[in-house]
């Protein structure tokens, strides 16, 4: 097993962990952390693909590496927007939760996100 494959498996587990936190934790900030773990796992998979593509004198394929850099910046912007929504929600409603307080929302699913 090469180190690339090892970190690929690591990425796969991070994806599972991140998705689990995104789905099950009710607190929105924890969901955002879960999303970041999930993203980190996906970037690791891309990085592993890059490492395996070492050729032409390079130690890694530059295209997936560039994709990961773009992805990290996009993931940060996403976190910033999500976090701003959470803060605003707490300012407007006094609580931090994705459950709808209004009874007019007749949608039956409440706890998931």
């Amino acid at each position: 097993m090469t180190s690339a494959t090892l970190f690929g498996l690591c990425g796969a587990i991070l994806i599972g962990l991140g998705l689990f936190e995104l789905i099950t934790d009710p607190h929105p900030l924890r969901k955002i952390l879960g999303f970041n773990l999930l993203g980190g796992g996906v970037f690791l998979v891309l990085g592993v693909v890059a490492r395996r593509g070492a050729a032409a004198g390079y130690l890694g394929d530059p295209v997936p590496q560039a994709l990961v850099i773009t992805g990290i910046v996009v993931a940060f912007s996403a976190t910033a927007l999500a976090v701003a929504l959470v803060v605003r929600l707490s300012e407007v409603s006094g609580r931090v939760s994705l459950a709808y307080a209004s009874s007019e929302q007749t949608d039956s699913d409440g706890a998931e996100g």
Binding site: I15, L19, L22, P28, K31, I32, F35, L38, G39, V42, V45, L46, V48, V49, R52, G53, V63, P64, L67, T70, G71, V74, S77, A78, L81, A82, L85, V86, R88, L89, V92, S93, L98, Y100, A101, S102, E104, Q105, T106, D107, D109, E112, G113
Partner: protein, 510 residues
């Protein structure tokens, strides 16, 4: 060999630069509007809309006249290293649909989001105009990009433009809905990216046409396509991943709801089509197509029934979106597995007419509901009595849109459902026909329910809290008439929808 094929596919596009302009002009508008702000934001938006309409129609005409897709290689770096833009038949149709609906929405939104001549820049108008242009730029990139990672960036652009529109009112429900939408959308796009990573890991390219040539059936492909489809389903709000949509679309300002329901959810659906029919070669999984069809059928039935039970008009319309999206997914079991037969072309055409006519009809409905809510001060369905006297054009617009959603002739919705019905009966998959008919009946129930309230006798004179101009009422009406006119298109013109497809569909093709 592969390079030759790619070159020949992308060759002979003298007007390829139109594709770049279609993306870059709205982006330029976003940048100018952000930098200068104030009244310039609104003026920039209208300038961009004018340019964008011309560009959209120009691309449509070119693809139609030449019956070939348009292509443009960015930076002179051809695939696989660089990014190529491509416009085939469905891209061109979506470009024009988007341009028209955004133009109508901008005119509609003028009254709500305008800045007085001497006024300072205000939050809601500035944000609305910038994000409107951004949604347009993102959608055009989705329709035109031929590179899977570029499409990921386009998806994120679309999400970041749409989510703040949901939260624009600043109310707690809207912000909650926006946050939930954002989390769903982010999870969806990251799984899309995972699929892209696996495909690159297996085949070494991100270009759609090159992948099409290289892909072989194997586990990596199945998992990648499953991940990408699942992620995009979350963004398209297909049952059972739909529950972020009704609060989000109902809680947004009416102009934003129109854009969200008519166009934004169609962007991710467009990508699912791209992946299934342009990236995947030859035979696709019949079982997976049937699963998508079943989820679509569930969406139709569930969405329509829940829509009927709503107390508020905007929520009813939002659940109706959930239902109508289900029709789009019936396209999969009707086309996959029947490649080469004329009935797959029929189903394909039906699905796209459904998409376009729903876009016009739903935008019209949300605009009409917005006008009614503004005039009455509420949108409770049971208290809509007498609205027909007060806002006749608006109610007419709602009625015509409803006709299209129900699938009653003459309307685009009717043609779409009729085509899908014929295809499913001829292919022997009669169960989809039953679903289409049932969905139409339940849609009829909720449309008629609303119409009887609106046309009903006044118990008391409805006091209009805000006077609504006649020209503003004409906007949803014109969109609704567009939805109706789609039912009158000659069938030859619809071969445009097959330009640029791999020749499996048995007719026009390349």
């Amino acid at each position: 060999m592969i390079a030759d094929a790619a070159t020949s596919l992308d060759a002979a596009s003298t007007h390829g630069y139109l594709l770049v302009l279609a993306i870059v002009v709205p982006v330029g508008g976003v940048l100018i509007a952000t930098a200068v702000g104030g009244r310039t934001a609104e003026r920039t938006a209208f300038a961009v809309i004018a340019a964008g309409l011309i560009l959209g129609f120009a691309i449509l005409l070119d693809v139609w006249m030449t019956s070939r897709p348009l292509a443009y290689v960015l930076g002179n770096w051809a695939a696989p290293l660089g990014i190529t833009l491509r416009a085939d038949g469905i891209s061109a149709v979506m470009l024009v649909t988007t341009a028209l609906i955004i133009a109508a929405t901008a005119l509609y939104a003028c009254a709500d989001f305008t800045i007085p001549r001497d006024g300072l820049e205000a939050r809601a108008p500035f944000v609305f105009w910038v994000l409107l242009l951004a949604v347009w730029a993102a959608l055009n990139t989705v329709f035109l990009s031929g590179d899977l990672f570029n499409l990921y960036v386009a998806l994120e652009l679309l999400t970041f433009a749409a989510v703040p529109l949901v939260a624009l009112s600043g109310r707690a429900e809207a912000i909650t809905a926006a946050l939930r939408y954002l989390l769903f959308a982010l999870a969806g796009s990251i799984f899309y990216l995972l699929g892209v990573a696996l495909l690159y890991g297996a085949y070494g390219t991100l270009d759609i046409i090159l992948l099409h040539q290289r892909i072989r059936p194997e586990l990596a492909v199945s998992l990648a396509v499953a991940m990408m489809t699942a992620g995009l389903l979350a963004k398209t709000a297909l049952f059972p991943l739909h529950f972020w949509l009704p609060p989000a679309h109902a809680g947004a300002p009416p102009a934003a709801s129109a854009i969200l329901s008519a166009l934004v959810v169609k962007g991710s659906f467009f990508l699912i089509i791209r992946i299934w029919f342009d990236v995947l070669p030859g035979s696709r999984s019949l079982a997976a197509a049937q699963v998508l069809g079943v989820m679509g059928a569930a969406a139709i039935l569930f969405g329509s029934i829940v829509a009927f039970r709503q107390a508020r008009l905007k929520l009813l319309i939002a659940y109706s979106t959930v239902a109508q999206i289900g029709y789009l997914f019936l396209l999969f079991p009707l086309v996959v597995g029947f490649e080469g037969s004329p009935w797959s072309a029929t189903a394909w055409t039906g699905g796209w007419i459904q998409l376009v006519s729903h876009a016009f009809a739903k935008a019209a409905m949300f605009m009409a509901a917005g006008l009614i809510a503004q005039a009455l001060g509420h949108d409770r369905i049971d208290d809509l009595g007498g609205v027909a006297r007060a806002l006749p054009l608006t109610v007419l617009a709602f009625a015509i849109s409803g006709i299209s959603l129900m699938g009653v002739p003459p309307s685009g919705g009717f043609v779409a459902k009729w085509l899908m019905l014929s295809a499913s009966v001829e292919e022997g998959q009669w169960w989809w026909a039953v679903t289409v008919v049932a969905g139409g009946l339940i849609a009829g129930a909720y449309v008629i329910r609303v119409m009887t309230r609106m046309l009903g006798p006044r118990l008391e004179l409805p006091t209009l809290s805000v006077k609504v101009d006649r020209w503003r009422q004409s906007l949803p009406l014109s969109l609704a008439i567009c939805a109706m006119l789609l039912g009158l298109l000659p069938l030859q013109s619809l071969e445009l929808l097959q330009v640029g497809l791999p020749h499996f569909l048995g007719s026009a093709g390349r």
